[in-house]
């Protein structure tokens, strides 16, 4: 199976290429889109998610980064038939753009919660001011939620400030830390171990378990960071 780069400007998918479908245990099927880690591919994942969510045999759908985990209500008798049906849905799925909300997040860049900013400057060869400017000038899309309650994986980070995840996670990164993990950015929702790189801090609470809609973010939302303070 090839993993060719999809044409980034187009939202019309390459319908010929099959998704990669694998098992996680008995009821869960992971559908991974071929092609690039980009918005057109994610739009097709959103479309697939939409097409599958009303199927009665499906218990749960978990969108990831250009992939989708489908959890069935029961262990299927013939998993091959499930894979075939999912592949058919993937073939039919056309990109949709979710009409998400616009979320603005006020950030204190630098300061005590930006422990990894110097390392990012070293890695990128940019000054701290340039790193901060590039980060807050970006427009991001919530690709998926996961990992911790309400945590949104944000796509759209400028390649100049990509930074690999740490091999040894920080043990006590604060909730609200504005972080970079590889080509993604996000705001930590829990205090605890975290392998992403922190460059700032946001007060916004991203999750309320008692609310009717517990997560502030949803896939498709547009996120902008507003520099409230810059402490360099």
């Amino acid at each position: 199976m090839s993993f060719q780069q999809a044409a980034p400007a187009s939202i019309v998918p390459d319908t010929d290429e099959l998704a990669r479908i694998s098992f996680i245990g008995t009821r869960a099927f992971l559908i991974e889109a071929p092609g690039a880690f980009d918005l057109p591919t994610q739009r097709r994942i959103w479309a697939l998610s939409h097409a599958l969510e009303t199927r009665p045999e499906i218990a749960e759908i978990v969108p990831g980064m250009t992939n989708l985990l489908v959890i069935l209500k029961e262990t299927p008798e013939t998993p091959e038939a499930v894979v075939h049906a999912l592949q058919e849905e993937w073939r039919r799925a056309r990109g949709v753009d979710l009409a998400g909300r616009e979320i603005e997040i006020a950030v204190t860049y630098g300061g005590e919660h930006a422990g990894d900013l110097p390392a990012l400057c070293d890695l990128s060869g940019l000054s701290d001011r340039e790193v901060v400017r590039i980060h807050h000038e970006g427009t991001y899309r919530v690709f998926a939620l996961g990992s911790a309650p309400g945590f949104g994986y944000l796509h759209g980070l400028d390649p100049r400030i990509h930074m690999p995840r740490k091999t040894v996670p920080s043990l006590h990164m604060a909730r609200g830390s504005v972080t970079i993990g590889g080509m993604q950015t996000g705001v930590a929702v829990l205090t605890g171990p975290n392998g992403w790189n922190s460059i700032g801090f946001a007060e916004l609470q991203m999750f309320d378990p008692m609310a009717a809609a517990p997560a502030v973010m949803a896939p498709g939302d547009t996120v902008r960071f507003r520099p409230e303070r810059i402490e360099l």
Binding site: I24, A28, L30, A59, V62, A144, F207, P209
Partner: protein, 330 residues
């Protein structure tokens, strides 16, 4: 209503979990041995999804402020009621003021205390399970502490014989449906997962060797120690949803099995996924114990699920008959 008189540090209120919110990053949680919790509830005539107390650190001691029926299932924790020993997998009635004590089990890891009516805490996102990481669910989102009062919902009407009654534990009743341990190792069935073939010859070593459950294991996941395995190529993975039972292999090469408090997303190469019908057995495996993974098929997984369902249905029917017969004699 019970009062916690003594407890170890990691005992929580759990039900069958909070599935359906992984898409917003919320772990399902729920009992590590859902079968034991289910049977405890069946014995009491509770709804199958009623909340109970998962006891994984001992001793654990409660006083019944009001009288009521209770059930003890899961690990045989040599329970006593006012000092009188109770058999494992047993339901009995407690009078007001009586003290129930659970001691460290000699085998298996977790005992379940179910109460008639079920533990009454407010459901959060459809479940009463405690999410320690999220800090919600259960009793104020935290572990139980000495002095806590645990209320129960209204119990179903039912007759409980003096001295109570019990069931044959699933490990005995279902020994034909679940692979027997060889030389003390637990056999856990699993299906190959997405990156299985990337491990090349190391995949065979994954299945053939005995893995030890390391001390760095908890409700979130079991870290296994053994001869490390590595994929033949390093692959940049994109984060994707995972479910309990997924066996991921971080760069150091020692697998991690995600359990009830599994993260909702992962990005390590995954070599296999434990069949759901074997998760309760893994949930009873102790730190330091050995296990070996056995490749399985969906058909074998379904057969194991059917055996479990038949056992639960049988306990359900028998418990009802016992109550009726004894009520008739009374």
């Amino acid at each position: 209503m019970i009062e916690i008189v003594a407890t170890g540090p990691l005992n929580t209120v759990q039900d069958l979990g909070r599935p359906g919110y992984r898409n917003i990053g919320v772990t399902a949680s729920g009992a590590m041995d859902p079968l034991a919790l289910r049977i405890g509830n069946v014995l009491l005539g509770n709804a199958p999804g009623a909340a109970g107390i998962e006891v994984q650190t001992f001793p654990f001691q409660v006083r019944f402020s009001e009288g009521g029926a209770f059930a003890i299932t899961g690990a045989d924790c040599r329970a006593t009621l006012d000092g009188v020993p109770l058999p494992p997998w047993w339901t009995a009635g407690a009078a007001p003021g009586q003290m129930l004590e659970l001691f460290p089990p000699l085998k298996d890891a977790r005992a379940y205390l179910c109460l008639a009516g079920g533990v009454a805490v407010a459901p959060v996102m459809g479940s009463r399970s405690t999410s320690l990481r999220g800090g919600f669910g259960g009793l104020q989102g935290r572990v139980l502490a000495t002095g806590d009062h645990v209320a129960t919902d209204r119990a179903a009407d039912g007759f409980l014989p003096k001295g109570g009654f019990g069931v044959v534990p699933p490990a005995v009743a279902l020994k034909d449906a679940f692979p027997v341990a060889e030389g003390g190792a637990l056999l856990i069935r699993a299906l190959p997962a997405g990156e299985h073939d990337l491990f090349g010859a190391d995949a065979q070593r994954f299945w053939s060797q005995l893995w030890k459950i390391s001390a760095r294991s908890d409700r979130t996941g079991y870290r296994l120690s053994g001869d490390p395995i590595h994929p033949t190529e390093v692959m940049e993975m994109r984060s994707h949803g995972v479910v309990p039972g997924v066996i991921q292999v971080p760069p150091a090469g020692e697998p991690i099995v995600q359990m009830s408090d599994a993260n909702t997303a992962g990005g390590y190469p995954k070599i296999a996924g434990v069949i759901e019908a074997d998760l309760w057995r893994l949930g009873q495996a102790r730190i330091g114990s050995l296990l070996r993974f056995v490749p399985a098929t969906h058909a074998e997984a379904r057969a194991a699920e059917q055996a479990l369902a038949a056992y639960i249905a049988d306990v359900h029917k028998t418990a009802r008959l016992v109550r009726q017969a004894l009520a008739g004699m009374a």
